[in-house]
Subunit: 212 residues, 4 copies
DNA sequence: CATGAATGAGCATTCATTCAT
DNA sequence: TATGAATGAATGCTCATTCAT
């Protein structure tokens, strides 16, 4: 290809074209707000600022657009790097982790993603499973790895790391996440989160701290 | 023809008519499988074994049929009476409660109800809130009441009863409920439940048991 | 069959049963208010104070119920006896006739009947034709007969009696009936009617009174 | 393929797009034949030669499609310019007006429009009123204006111009319009119209011509 | 005869998807 | 590539009609 003045713009066809991102950003909002069935391709096109036809240039159908979005969400949420320094003392590290974790779980559209994926999991089990594996189990694994390090460091005594990690993660949510996701209470404040996380840390260490 | 006077008048049109129950049973299945939007009135009629028109004899519209079902689900799940004898020792009572609780949470369609309600909570906040209040908060309250009794009995030391109760309830779910609801793992076995609940009891008592 | 004590009450099956009238009265209101298509058998049953099923005991279907009502309306409106004394002077008789005629044409549900029948005339030409023949043409004929008598009495000179009669009838409606039926103005008052009728009489006699 | 540059850009989506007209033409037929309730969007789509979905691209719903058609009908019927030369002698001008007026009133679908609008006027008063104002009252006003000019020219003596104009318009319809609209007689012939109009002119002038 | 529960065809309307430009 | 007009199947819902009681 020598010509530098192309007669036609060659489409990139890339997965990462700006247009593709633009569509996914618009679609994400609509899907998270209205759910898979509640979202219409029309609304998605409007939210994305493209024509309906363009949607089908980048995605085969509604289903695969949805899957792509969940996939990206998995990547993003899975990528969040919690500060789990294996050398850090449990009390501090767990407290910081708990607060950061709750920040994500309860941030305005974090709940939407969980809710949306959960809702569709029965009809699209792959989507549900991937989300679980790549977001929840992934975070759980990272925390479990930290706990293993602290056991090695003789600070903690734990036999089932995944279980312990999940116990801690769930205790951080106690009285906060469920009311929020069921729309029974608003997003918790930082103070509320701090109090609940502190209580979780106390309970966790009371049970798992190595006895002298 | 022996008699033209029927021996019993069949009551009709009542709120508790058999037909109404039949419709709700069919609709429940479809709603729980497909979600509010995914469920079509046609499919519901078929599942209930009645004609589409009959649906509208008993329920004003799809929305109110759905609400009735969630309402009934609340009543049913709220009615479950856990054996929370205030005089019973925490170790036994919590273990039994935990197992019974998980039985309900993970029974084949318990998850579906939670999932379906959670999914629609953003668009139908009343439905979400009522479900939370009458099922989750209700159970939490009963457990909190038990804990208060054990604190009075000097067995436990707790400052926030609701928080402690929810910590225990969530720990019972650890590694079991989320994979199940995201379709990442099948319904947990009794053995798995027992192990997780035992761990939760241990951790809970390590933190909240009164020191001698 | 000899028994004089029937096991079941024998239905009269008569056309003039009270129930039949009751149904027609209710149905009339609904049909006239909402038109043939707009009226539902449900609403008719409610308006008539009978069950939906009973409607079908007395009438084969919606269509024939409607026809029966129009038929009765024809009879009623055709039966109205205007005081057209052949010996009475035209000025007085026409003025009285005009007022009485407008009374009927513009009475609250007189317009509804005309409107309803007119609306359906294209799809049910028999209904339209019968209404025209038995109400409008009938009244026109009676007035034409009166005019003939006055021509015989040398008071008037007319060559086409039906045409003259209709000219008078329509002039009586001028500026009153159309706005009323198109909902552009409310039912005219007696004073308005009187003024318009007086003008019609004047114009009519100016043209048709015998010259001395 | 000779050229990829089209010679003319086809404008689309306009209010006056060919498609929109095509739909209105088809819908007009169906509405006028069957009335508002009797017309189904399915039938309208078929009559217009478009799919059901396309109907909703151009019109928000059935109601507004209907209103658009009546509005257009008003414009069309209101636009008809009768030859009402204020300098013309009443006898000629009224005769020509009467014939032209009856031509419109009785043309195959002129009656349908009146009938359809009249039928719905009770339930859609705005539609009825607009039609009355913009078609009937409008024509009446133009004729009244002419009569005023002839009064000024000393040819006629009239005190209520609108009333006189409507008297003339209605007399032109005598024995012709009502049977036609009630489907009791076919569309009148030109000869019938001429005879009735001539009679109306005679009667009108007998009453309103200035005495010498 | 009278009822009203039950039906299913039909309604207006929406929406994922296609395709000519 | 990007468009948006067009489609027609599917949706929630209504209603004339039937029929067991």
């Amino acid at each position: 290809m020598v010509s530098s003045i192309p007669l036609a713009i060659v489409p990139t066809g890339e997965d990462d074209s700006a247009k593709r991102h633009q569509i996914m950003d618009g679609a994400r909002r609509v899907f998270m707000d209205l759910g898979f069935d509640g979202a219409s391709m029309n609304e998605i096109a409007r939210a994305a600022g493209v024509s309906k036809g363009t949607l089908y240039v980048y995605f085969a159908d509604k289903h695969s657009l949805f899957e792509s979005i969940v996939e990206r969400e998995c990547l993003r949420q899975g990528k969040v790097s919690f500060n789990l320094d294996p050398a850090g003392a449990a009390e501090t590290v767990l407290r910081d982790f708990g607060r950061a974790y709750m920040e994500i779980v309860c941030r305005p559209d974090g709940g939407s993603a969980v809710r949306t994926v959960m809702a569709i999991a029965e009809r699209m089990p792959d989507v549900g499973r991937r989300f679980y594996d790549r977001v929840i189990a992934h975070t759980n694994q990272r925390l479990a790895d930290y706990l293993r390090a602290r056991v090695k460091a003789k600070e903690l005594v734990i036999d089932d790391y995944e279980l312990a990690a999940m116990q801690f993660m769930l205790m951080c949510q106690a009285t906060l996440f469920q009311p929020y996701i069921f729309q029974a209470k608003p997003v918790p404040t930082s103070e509320q989160v701090a109090a609940v996380v502190d209580s979780a840390v106390r309970l966790f260490l009371a049970g798992y701290r190595a006895k002298p």
